[in-house]
Amino acid sequence: MFEVPGLGDLNVAATLPVTSLVLGTCILLIVDLFVPTDRKHITAWLAALGIGVLLVLALLALGEITEFGDGEEAFSGMFVADAFTDMINVIALITALLGVMVAYNYLERTGIQRGEYYVLLLFATAGVMFMGAAGDLVVVFVALELLSIPLYILSGFRRPQEASEESALKYFLLGAFASGFLVYGIALIYGATGTTNLHDIWQAAGDIVAGHKSGRFLLLGGAGLALVGLGFKVAAVPFHMWTPDVYQGAPTPVVAYMSVAAKAGGFAAMARVLASGLSNFALDPGEAAVWQDTVWLLAILTMLLGNVVAIVQTDLKRLLAYSSIAHAGYILIAVAAAGTAAVADEAVQSVAIYLMAYALTNVGAFAVIVAVERDDATNTGLDSMRGLANARPWLAAAMALFMFSLTGIPLTAGFVGKWFVFKAALAADLIPAAVVGVVTSLVSAFYYLRIVWLMYFEESEVEVSTPWPLAWAIGVASVGTLLLGMLPYILTDMVREITLAFGG
């Protein structure tokens, strides 16, 4: 007979950031039903307001001005509220806020303004936040679905345009397939350890490694399958095939949001499952985790393919899709580094830093594409950047900044992210991965800086629309990118609290 939990065990207070988001989104879904079709800006405003309030609270929690259930468990260990949770909350909410701002006028002028957009976006955000707080494999899975399903729908939001529908269907079919891998992995891990709780898995894995418990191969298979499922979500090679098609077909503001949200969610899950639950799962006690070699090999493949194939792209959205694959590779290096126990904390912190830098930069870059895109979803080619600097100097400057940041040029957020990732990789003795990372960064400079070249040194007629929400989103993203680049200690001080490894 199992112990019946009481209401006090729920500890709802610790889950407030995300549960209030879910509750608010449900209310917004109902409210939106009573908002007339031509006044959907009300829904957008309510969504932005809700995210804004939660973002302020999350920032306060991260700055530890208020301790919002720090280091606590809720729902009998299913939910963990620690510094990592706070950090993922902030990343998810910033992305969501920018996602609403980028989308609003775009949806209006392309005639797909529906209230569901904001509701789905908020649900996906809740999925990311749950992932950052997962203390149990079941929560990891449910959170991943809560993140993915709204994204499938959002990709097809431009109904009945064929490209958008195709992208939604591709994403859905492959995503459902990948979820199957993850569930099978979870089942095998459960079979080996007898639990789905990450802390208990960690203990059982310790017993298995020490030889007190059988099930080593079962656990190995489970870890492998879970890695495949999560690798799909973050677009790691060889599970990246869906990315270019989905990014190209889906409405651009959706891509701006999901390129970051899906990555933040996927890597939060990897951090929780690999760097936390299976951190001590080595072939012999005291060695680096058994999944480390696999992950850094994946990282190398991902960086190589993403960066090399991006060179030949002529469509901006497709180019940034390959670039997002490449960036998944850089973060994978940090995940691999977390397999070495001594470096684990540093590595997970660098994942958080990189995700934050990537969130600001990438949403910004896609926002610029939203500005140049026409109402019929054309003009997203490289040519659309031609002569932007003459027509709109500030917009071009912002785009140039985002491109520098994606390349990883100093004084931008991207540089800070790469710096900490490579530092963690060197500390964990992953020299090949770090070397490939640096070399492919140089390769990536070619296609990122070509965009800058097109903007500043070529001439063309330019037609751009930047209504104020979009302009503000680009402004916030570029200020954030610059600020993190020049004053990185703002962020590094915040992430210093993050420790995922279980002690003792």
Partner: protein, 119 residues
């Protein structure tokens, strides 16, 4: 698991395969075969078959199907909950309230969207 325990898994697997295969084979070997045109007709619940199967039909009812699945699963949860209610106490009441509330939100949404009207 030790190797001996795996043998049971193998036995179960074989027994599982035999359960459908053996009756099928028995029927194949033992049944007399005297076909006639009526017997060879496509079976459609006793009704005479009309036209081709390759026709377009309205997929409108998928919304009903979705709503049905949602509430079907709700019942699957509700039933054991109601049976064990006395032992579970306030905690379970709270959990179930949250669960049903979320489903009600979905129902209100489908209702207001007009998805429940057949037109």
């Amino acid at each position: 698991m030790t190797l001996n325990e795996w043998i049971f898994v193998g036995l179960f697997l074989m027994a599982g395969w035999m359960l459908p295969v053996v009756p099928l084979l028995l029927g194949y070997w033992l049944a007399p075969r005297r076909p006639n045109p009526v017997k060879k007709q496509i079976y459609e619940c006793g009704v005479q078959t009309v036209g081709s199967a390759w026709v377009q039909f309205r997929a409108q009812y998928y919304v009903f199907a979705l709503v049905f699945v949602a509430f079907d699963v709700e019942l699957v949860f509700l039933f054991p909950w109601a049976l064990a209610y006395n032992k579970l106490g306030l905690f379970a009441l709270f959990e179930m309230a949250v669960f049903i509330l979320l489903l009600v939100v979905a129902l209100v949404y489908t209702w207001r969207k007009g998805a429940l009207e057949w037109s």
